[in-house]
Symmetry: C2
Subunit: 113 residues, 2 copies
Amino acid sequence: MADNSEDRADALFHALADRTRRDIMRRVLAGAQSVSALAVKYDMSFAAVQKHVAVLEKAGLLTKQRSGREQLASGDVEAVRSVAFMLTELEQVWRGRIARIDELIASDLDQED
Amino acid sequence: MADNSEDRADALFHALADRTRRDIMRRVLAGAQSVSALAVKYDMSFAAVQKHVAVLEKAGLLTKQRSGREQLASGDVEAVRSVAFMLTELEQVWRGRIARIDELIASDLDQED
DNA sequence: ACAACGCACAACTGATCGGTTGTATATTAG
DNA sequence: CTAATATACAACCGATCAGTTGTGCGTTGT
């Protein structure tokens, strides 16, 4: 149960790698929605939508709050930002390559003098 | 074969939902790597690594360039940014909710006057 | 009280995934 | 020319995925 950051990244990207789940995220980021309110929007069974919500919840992309017999799902914008941050880190790796290439060019110019 | 943006989003998030593939992305963003140079870094067969590279290539996250008998893989930072942009769009949906809540508060205050 | 609603969960199914081994093909080194 | 290298790809396998149906259980409306 070593819940390292790679496990979390796996869960986050996997959760977002499905168009139904991305659509659910749009809805619950726009405002809390009950599971059944979400379910009527998709051409699949209630249970299927409920499982999608569960995947998003386990990944930490949404939280549920009970309200009577309904379960209200709210998108967690911080989780979305954490995914964006992972991509920023990837981009930083690329910037490192560019910086190294620039250094190479600079040292070549030195030699040409 | 309607290659819409949702198909592309599926492919991009799916490609990134595996730690080996994310690690490959770090390496090929830092600099072009042959498939076999990548393969020696992981405790799995060459064919397995090659399939991971193929998944990343199909998603557009890296490109391959032949150099003799080697195939040099380079990370495409623009594809990484396009994923980041999708997350920004999600965050904008959330900002819309906040804006609407703010309006509600504002109109409540109007009524309280 | 009780019928309808909202949700959770289990069991099942076909499809996809991540890995393997084996084979084929092109390129390079000696 | 031949052997070794680098890659591609097919076939296979167990695990996971995305969907289904069915069952159960707490909550609400009448």
